[in-house]
């Protein structure tokens, strides 16, 4: 589930400045000077688009790779590698014509065969994002076919309007077919995005170094190079205050954070919901009534006000601005009379700056209500591993979206979805979602979505905490930073530049 996005802190006692002082050594080792440093809560867990299920990976993927389409900051679909596209009258056949000047970082042109190979790969067994592409009719004779070097045709099983948004998403990336057989390809990936991979270091500091791709079809990026530097949130804030990084877009900061005294606040809503996911496979959450009581007892509004006062109170699973927003469970649903005595382990990412405070808050809150709760902070990678293996009882995550359609969030609860973190099995919900996918009428589809959301709300598999509002910190040196309401993953770094006089120094104080 690609929705699980940004996460949070890690108590690193390793001195921040020791790390930063080692930066020049690291960059020299990679053979490139850094003109822009973007702090990230984690380096990518993978650089393979079909295995990306976390924001850190998606951020890097969007810089290195490019897809057929892209999202504008306001979610308009724009051409990317595809120069133009068309949809057949029956809505089942999509035809894309590639740009003639699209090149991979190795200089090879991007061809329709590369697109076909990449899409087929997304549908392969090793893909973790196959569910977004399963509408492609591979049984058809020409499910995905390259008509010529620049024309690719995709045949769908049924009309699926959000599929264009899927193709603009962060996993629908086009890779060079000829190089994919190379087993070490993703250690040094080649894409067609605005930045090309230079290298990755893990010591003395964890970073990925990229350099601007001068032959990028939209024009060479204005940044010569860009580093993704892994830092815990608290250290990242200190680094920002010290003028060592250019943006903290990877963290949902509050507007009152003191770091904004040292730079700009680019504020934007984001299509995300912070939740505490409940695993219905694990006791005591096997019991719907227990889940409902847990949902009621957890002080989500107190949590929001304490830690993210800028965020909007949650009114359901779907964030504002999407069909299904505000839909809650039916009233009068039955719930357990008292909390379960069974131990509940709730995990939160330790990379969050106030992870320890959160842990205490939640533990105190739940115990005060009579729950036998234990709240732990864990490393992001460990949390993700538990999420993937469905071993966690409860976990705090942000549900981000890859494409702006409620379908993205709802399919997480489909019985057949291997990424179904809740373990929910609801035949009616599955039926509604199947119907929604094949319904071209917008209004009818929205009605189906709302009914689906009603069911999910009634199943109480999420405690909806809040809808975050991003306060992106950027250095005063940074120009052209434009937020994207879908996610910070889609911020267009190819248009970002540094003010005159800021080259060579990080922050204009």
């Amino acid at each position: 589930m690609r929705g699980i996005a940004r996460t949070i802190s890690e108590k690193r006692r390793l001195g921040l400045f020791a790390l930063l002082c080692a930066a020049s050594f690291s960059q020299a080792a990679l053979g490139v000077g850094i003109s822009y440093t973007k702090a990230v809560y984690s380096l990518p867990l993978t650089l393979d688009p079909i295995k990306m299920n976390d924001t850190s990976s998606l951020v890097a993927g969007n810089l290195i790779y490019d897809g057929l389409l892209r999202f504008s900051p306001s979610l308009k679909l724009e051409s990317a590698l595809a120069e133009s596209w068309s949809t057949s009258a029956d809505g089942k056949t999509l035809t894309f014509v590639l740009r003639s000047n699209a090149r991979f970082h190795n200089g090879e042109p991007v061809t329709a065969e590369d697109v076909a190979a990449s899409l087929l790969r997304a549908l392969s067994p090793q893909s973790e994002v196959g569910k977004y592409y399963d509408c492609i009719d591979l049984q058809a004779e020409n499910g995905i076919s390259a008509k010529d070097k620049r024309t690719i045709e995709i045949r769908l099983k049924q009309p699926f309007p959000p599929f264009l948004s899927v193709l603009a998403g962060a996993t629908a990336k086009v890779l060079p077919r000829k190089l994919l057989s190379n087993p070490g390809f993703f250690d040094h990936p080649v894409g067609s995005g605005p930045f090309q991979f230079v290298g990755r270091s893990s010591s003395p500091r964890k970073e990925i170094v990229l350099k601007g791709f001068k032959e990028y079809y939209r024009g060479a990026p204005m940044l010569e190079s860009l580093a993704l530097l892994e830092l815990p949130e608290a250290d990242a804030v200190k680094a920002a205050e010290a003028g060592k990084v250019h943006d903290l877009a990877n963290w949902p900061l509050t507007a009152k954070n003191e770091v904004f005294q040292h730079g700009r606040n680019v504020s934007s809503p984001v299509a995300a919901t912070w939740i505490i996911g409940l695993n219905a496979r694990k006791a005591p959450f096997l019991d719907l009534k227990v889940r409902r009581l847990f949902q009621r007892d957890l002080d989500s509004e107190g949590f929001r006000k304490t830690f993210y006062p800028d965020a909007a109170p949650a009114r359901g699973y779907v964030p504002p601005g999407l069909p299904g927003f505000g839909v809650g469970p039916e009233k009068g649903l039955k719930m357990a009379r008292k909390p379960s005595k069974e131990k509940i382990r709730l995990v939160i990412p330790q990379e969050l700056a106030r992870a320890e405070e959160m842990r205490k808050f939640l533990e105190k809150n739940l115990r005060a209500k009579g729950w036998n709760a234990q709240v732990d902070t864990v490393a992001w990678a460990d949390l993700m591993a538990g999420y993937d293996k469905k071993t966690l009882q409860a976990f705090l995550v942000s549900m981000n979206m890859d494409y702006p359609d409620a379908e993205f969030l709802l399919r997480n609860f489909e019985s057949s979805n291997p990424d179904n973190f809740s373990g929910l099995h609801n035949a009616e919900l599955d039926r509604l979602l199947r119907r929604a996918r094949t319904t071209q009428d917008r209004r009818k589809r929205e009605t189906l979505y709302k009914r689906s959301i009603g069911i999910i709300a009634g199943e109480a598999v999420t405690v909806n905490l809040f809808y975050p509002r991003a306060n992106y910190w950027t250095s005063n040196c940074v120009e052209g930073f434009e937020p994207n309401i879908l996610s910070d993953v889609y911020i267009d770094y190819s248009r970002i530049s540094l003010k005159a006089g800021c080259e060579g120094k990080v922050v204009q104080r």
């Binding site: 306001s74 979610l75 308009k76 679909l77 809503p269 504002p320 601005g321 927003f325 702006p404 994207n484």
Partner: protein, 456 residues
């Protein structure tokens, strides 16, 4: 300091400059205002109509909270129209094409504005708005705001204004060029009139082809007639003056006879007085015939002089008369004297009869030449209202007591009465011109005869 003189065409051009600039400015301002008003009104109406048209569709999207689709729709329209949109629901910005940061924040309504024809006008934008509702749909508490910048409209107006200004100015300049040509064409008759007036002044004019402008032609004819009348008046004046002076000179001739006649009478009385001594009587017997002869000569001279009186005294340059006189004397055979001349450079205008005055000057010159040893001079001087013609020689001069006798024609010349007749004639002619003939001894020991005439 004299005022700057300019041509008539230039004068008109300069006088019209303020009007030309003012008119151009007025036209440009008028057009700019008209264009701005029309543009703003059109834009506001167009925005209102657009909001009216998309409101039902937006209501559907707002009902379903489909912000991505709302943004796509509004962004597309915004990109094509340059209008920004903010969709507000429950006082919160649900969608905004202006700024992503604005969304999910309380909508800050426009500040100071003017409400006109259903739109609001701030200092920099036209704000149109419409409540979003769908017939039969739920109440949404949503409003769509369309914000069109005023700057492009005003910039276009400014451009239109500038174009109109320069176009009007160009047209005005073109008309000025045409007008100048027309004025120059219109001034041709005036030039003709001016040339004719100049010709009248130079006394070289004659009535040429008529001037095509009636008023100017009348002026020309009036001036020409005035010239003729003036010439006639002058002629009459010259004749009257001549008559008057002739009469006066005749009186002088009569008066000149008084003394010799009185002397004759006295000598006759002595001659016939028994009481007179014989010697007196004898002297008287000698004087009576002598005086009688003088009187006879004087009467003869007067008779001849009266035959040469001017009919009219017209104003001419006296230098011409003197040059003609000199020419006549110089053409005489046997002239071996040193004859010097001194004339002023400018004309000396004197009312005279050139033939008669020439005769007088010739007489004086011939007398001077005869009396001179080697030098004779002729000079002309103009001082005040008097012209002085002087004929001088280096001869022995003459007795001043004899002068009246010779001037009055009673004298007897040693050279066949020439001198006597010449001086008497010259004296009479000068008298008929209202002048005086004066004699004096000069520094060379000879005679200087000076003719004094009234000059203009």
């Amino acid at each position: 300091m004299s005022a700057r003189q300019i041509s008539f065409a230039r004068h008109i051009h300069e006088r019209l400059i303020p009007f030309r600039l003012g008119l151009s400015l007025a036209i440009s301002l008028f057009l700019a205002t008209l264009f701005a008003g029309f543009s703003i009104s059109s834009r506001a109406t167009s925005d209102q109509q657009l909001l009216e048209a998309i409101a039902p569709y937006l209501s559907t999207l707002v009902e379903s909270q489909d912000r991505p689709e709302i943004l796509r729709v509004l962004q597309s329209i915004s990109e094509s129209r340059g209008t920004q949109f903010v969709l507000v629901q429950d006082k919160m910005a649900l969608a905004s094409t202006r700024s992503v940061s604005e969304m999910d924040r309380p909508f800050v309504d426009v500040g100071a504005h003017i409400l006109f024809l259903g739109s609001r006008y701030t200092g920099h934008e036209i704000v149109s708005f419409r409540t979003i509702a769908r017939q039969g749909g739920p109440a949404l508490s949503a409003t769509i705001y369309g914000l069109s910048p005023l700057a492009p409209v005003l910039l276009n107006s400014l451009i239109i204004s500038a174009i109109a200004f320069f176009a009007a100015l160009a047209i005005s300049l073109l008309s000025a060029v045409k007008m100048k040509a027309a004025v120059n064409s219109a001034l041709a008759p005036l030039d003709q009139l001016r040339e004719e007036i100049q010709a009248i002044g130079n006394d070289t004019s004659s009535l040429s082809s008529s001037i095509p402008i009636r008023e100017l032609e009348e002026i020309r004819r009036t001036i020409f007639q005035s010239k003729v009348d003036l010439a006639n008046a002058r002629e009459r004046l010259a004749e009257e003056r001549a008559k008057k002076l002739n009469a006066a000179s005749f009186k002088s001739l009569i008066h000149d006879l008084h003394n010799p006649v009185a002397a004759l009478r006295q000598w006759l009385r002595l001659w016939t007085d028994p009481a007179a001594s014989p010697s007196v009587r004898e002297e008287a017997a000698g004087m009576v015939p002598q005086i009688a002869d003088e009187i006879l000569r004087q009467v003869g001279a007067a008779k001849r002089n009266l035959e040469s009186e001017p009919e009219a005294l017209r104003e001419f340059d006296l230098r011409e008369c003197l040059r003609a006189s000199l020419s006549r004397v110089q053409s005489a055979a046997g002239l071996d004297r040193n004859l010097s001349i001194e004339f002023p450079d400018r004309p000396v205008v004197v009312a005279h009869d050139p033939d008669l005055l020439q005769r007088a000057v010739v007489n004086l010159l011939e007398n001077g030449i005869e009396a001179s040893r080697s030098k004779v001079s002729l000079s002309l001087e103009h001082s005040g209202n008097t012209a002085f013609v002087r004929v001088a020689d280096d001869g022995v001069g003459m007795s001043e007591s004899d002068l009246p006798i010779f001037l009055q024609g009673r004298g007897k010349s040693k050279r066949a009465d020439r001198e006597a007749l010449g001086l008497s004639s010259a004296n009479h002619i000068v008298r008929t011109h209202g002048g005086k003939l004066i004699y004096r001894k000069n520094s060379m020991g000879g005679a200087t005869f000076e003719i004094r005439l009234e000059a203009r």
